[in-house]
Symmetry: D3
Subunit: 280 residues, 6 copies
């Protein structure tokens, strides 16, 4: 699997989440549960899915109490069925109860993203299209959500506004001669900067290609237009399809011959996967 | 509306989000759009909903470029229809293009939460039940998501593990004499700490009430059991219903006479509301 | 003992204090003491008291030099006499000399608070009143000072403005119909929010109780009025006495039958307990 | 007055204190006080003293609500009597009520330090001795507390372990030939580093002076020994008296001819001055 | 000029530098210069060069004292001669004296980088080669130093290890079939990730090109080999020359026909340009 | 060696540098190098010099991957020749490749400073002058650069504007009676604050000495004037020479009898020493 979460970033974000959830302690566990009580629990899938966030869950436990021991039976990216035991946790009961919600909040959301991504990826199997994410991520959690997309078999688009160009309709609308403007832009950029340009109509394609772009995005195209666009580009650039890509439609979009399909829904509307912590 | 977002917290989180989305600038706008270009845009609803996050959207714009002027036509908590113009933005084109995605990421998610909350609230109208959120919030955004719940007419549950007791099944399972343990716990707590205890069965209620709790939570009860539970409690504590509360079922749960209905789905599975920024 | 200091918070605050006290090293120890020199010291009580801050003292040593070994002979909350050895420290001499002042600054102040609290608690022994702290804490150290109050046998009041209501004279002065306003407020609050209201005169009690508050605070009442107030409230709410509670007066205030006595002096005017580090 | 508090540091610390005191809002004011309500209040001295912390109090107000206007009638360092109005605050009632406690916590403590310092300074008036603080400050607030000492007419000792040498008994006990060791140390130090050495007995003075130190500290000396020490040093170094300097004894210590008297009590045992905010 | 420094980042770094240089005030100015004294100064070039860092210098002044007014006569990227007045500063004397060193430290280093870059750029004028920087930047100042390179007319290479691939000799040495490994890598990467591969010998070129890379770097090639390499690549990828590129050699390297010349010396060995602040 | 780098500060700065260089992972190593691959490398000197930054290099490796093992053959402050192996690194190949650049960036710069300092120190050997640094350091790295100066046998000047007085020409120009002003200043300062005053001409010396300063700085004096100045001061204060001190001139400046020679070039124009990491 490509590029892991950095341990430093996991620690930073999990510490923040733990502090948010228990700014001055867990009054219930501390007032009700003896300090020496121990507990064991199992992380159980209540529905099928794809795992993402194992090390984040581990961090939530270990940063709450270093004596908690977590053992994952499966790895990030693995598929599981309802009823599967994904991990076990053993150790001080107070810590386990304190860390439970934060651990679940991460692994449920990340696995929700991985699971939805895997559905999109399965739908385009056998085509040359890849499923990619967008910048419609939760503020503060982009690294985690992009990782979850990779766990589901998807790919990442550019990380941010800084590391690649994406010229959209609103940019183009401000330009006079599009070809000249894009060429001038390229001359100002680092030679490592990928240039992608969005078009809304077939008749915009030639002017963009004439500037020598790396990827052309066909935004909200009909299937017929997508196919025509792919033919017109004819390998002169990568072709990305974008715009309200529903799961039911993604197979036919891929069949149109595009290289990349970006899906905002992977991250902008996350449904937490139903995973639970069952105490033994 | 109860308790606003603190301006300091909004600034802190929006700055973090802007840095995440443009760690070393917006190469597209800076390479393609003249520094002196100006633009105007309208924040338009593409579906009906309830607004939340106006000041966060404003902060995303103003912290990107202090020359951007945002005017909201409606306030947080207001309902709108598809096609309504919610706000206008005017100012430097570069800044507007740079801030667009971060601003939308916040207001779409927060309005998604407010809109879903408002549906739950409408469903229980005329009963004495209130809809409340849970701790199943996005790590790092709890303040924002709880505020969005309030914008939708809902109420907040405890903020964190620190400010109220919620003794759950896993806690109770570790105790011997539940009544005695809960009494002993209360004697250790601040007199300002609310004590809520979760029960899974009707026959657990008396032992809990005997300890003098403030709220009793009936977890995953059938409607019949909820009604029986409310009768049994008979005003000796507040009654909260919890556990997989679907929108279709919430009216009958409320009709069972409970005081509080907690709904994890308000925040654990957010669908971003479809709001767009249309450039003029 | 209820709710410990979080290890993460202790580490954060102690690191800050160490950096404040040695922003670019300890020039004396490094220029004068050989790197390989070792030392042993004893933390000795020069007056009697109650210990608080053992783990903070340990953190000051260990975060300065992980090779320093601290062994406490007594635990937080324990009483000791002048001359008692509370702990021993062994390890690199430079680190011990560098950490000494920061370690003492914490444990002396926290033990000062615990010791004063214990005096108040002893004074009300045999009554049903509990001694609680206030928000008159040192900026940045509230968690530590509230913990010290618990070490002394006291209880905590609300942690902050966020987690419970305390309506004071200045709030009430802005209201018209106090009962109606308090009722309206309660309807807006989370069901977990404790509501306490301060009154200055006996004739204010009924209007407040009519709104259904959890605690009524009798501020700066004479003993006679306190007794009258307790009788008037008659169990309809908890009763808190507040306002310049001197140690000499606290027993008779408790004897008036109040449930809670809040003492700002526990934290607003801390006298550091005289503890010293004697090198062997 | 020498060296002000840096505005950046004041803002940083006050923001921290405000966040500590209202992590997710002031539920009382927001639920009870109309957003548009305005209020005026006066900061009134309930006892005589010396002011310190005016700008910190202002920051607490302005950082809570920029619409709050604070006008101080006196400046830091000024003496006032019980009953004097030190400042007025006008603006939004919610903000004023929210900021009140944090503002008072700072100004009461800082004025407490300034007032106590002024008593020590007055006691040594007419002598050549100056009153200085120590490193026995509250963790995190050293800059504020040293400033308060200056407001009271005192002087600061070294700021930290980094900016000057103070060789104490525990250091000297590890050395063989004290004179040689101190000379070797000086040869390793920056030429700007002040060297102060503590002695416990008169017979240690010559060995220390032979090394060429800047200040010699006579620790816990009797008055007779202090006088003898001053005579023996005879201007070859500054002389500092230290060790449990009670207010009643400071005049005779000063009369012994020392240059510097360090008083840990100025900051290690702060009594908050009684200042109150009276709403009009 | 491409991509400016973000104002938020400038503020963050300059505040850090000011705190580093005056952690508890500027004792000289505060003890010696009256608070009301005003001063004027001119930023004067003592040698010819290219300006970079104007807004950083402004920030150093304004964040020290908002009353300081800085007016730059030239903009970043402009050339100037020895003796030219680059800017004037007017305002409170204390603030000006306090901020002087930090402001100079930034603008001298950044202008040093811009000036050296401009020499390299001038040396390759008339060729199709561009001068680019490397990751050999000062820890913590990469954004500033890359901006300075752009001010001098240079271009930036990838920003970090995250935003583009650079497979070096040490990577290749771990691979078996280089072509297959590089192809497999590309299949795992985002479609926006630029792939650059370093080769040490001419006979490695074909295997790399066969994998379809974007840029091939010829590391430490002789001029003859560079020319041979450019011919061999024949437009199938961009060609970068790298490795100890001295200013005297850069023209002939460019003449070899490469597209990109990376120069570590632009940032790894910065000579501060001699700019001074002359008080009037 | 005097005062080490604090481990906490090293960790903080190295973490920052690692995050700057790999904000979301090292795409090359992760996409190209198997997770289980191991590697060994040697840190080799490509030119002679003095080592500084060993523990910083170690931190770069260990904070990237705790499984990396670094063994240094020499210690900070040691001289080495071209070809010498300074250290070995063994462990996971990915981590080693990821950390390489950051580790080198630190150790090359710090050793560059130490090496240049050692040249200056050697040049004044046999005189009583010491070589000291200035505040012309890289923003954010002052602690590291001052440490490197010490590794090269140099000494540090004051750390910052806060810990010693340096009254320069611009300060003096604002004063009327210099002697009186300096005396008044000293009366306001802590008794531990070193006072240094800069003069531009011989005729300024007496007025400054009359105020009782600790060090007098002769700025940009000719050799003849330096000698005259030293004679005139005649031991009444330390004498510092300053101003464009070139390596070729430093011996004769030292021979003039000054105590301290400050050299801005030690840190304002750092040439990275040529150290490389050779993979085995």
């Amino acid at each position: 699997m490509l590029t892991r979460l950095s341990a430093a970033e996991v620690e930073r974000v999990v510490r923040m989440a733990l502090a948010e959830d228990a700014p001055w302690g867990d009054v219930t566990s501390e007032a009700l549960v003896p300090a020496e009580a121990r507990a064991s629990a199992r992380l159980v899938a209540r529905e099928a899915g794809v795992l993402s966030g194992a090390e984040v869950f581990v961090a939530a436990m270990e940063l709450t109490d270093a004596a908690l021991v977590v053992r994952f039976a499966v790895q990030d990216g693995a598929r599981f069925e309802a009823g599967d035991v994904l991990a076990t946790v053993d150790g001080p009961a107070r810590g386990l109860l304190t860390a439970e919600r934060v651990g679940l909040n991460f692994v449920q959301r990340m696995s929700g993203i991985a699971t939805l991504t895997a559905r999109y990826v399965a739908a385009v199997a056998g085509t040359s299209a890849r499923i990619v994410d967008t910048r419609k991520t939760t503020p503060g959690l982009r690294l985690f959500e992009r990782y979850a997309v990779r766990c589901g078999g998807g790919f990442n688009h550019r990380f941010s506004l800084s590391d690649a160009v994406m010229a959209k309709d609103n940019h183009l609308a401000m330009l006079g001669d599009v070809t000249a403007a894009l060429k001038a832009m390229r001359a100002r950029l680092s030679h490592t900067t990928h240039v992608e340009v969005e078009v809304d109509r077939l008749d915009q394609i030639e002017a963009v290609l004439a500037a020598g772009v790396d990827t052309i995005m066909l935004d909200n195209f009909s299937l017929a237009d997508l196919r025509a666009g792919v033919q017109q580009v004819a390998g002169r650039a990568l072709v990305e399809a974008s715009g309200g890509v529903a799961l039911e439609r993604v197979a036919e979009i891929a069949a149109a011959g595009v290289d990349v399909i970006s899906v905002g829904a992977l991250t902008h509307s996350v449904r937490a996967l139903d995973l639970g912590l069952d105490f033994l």
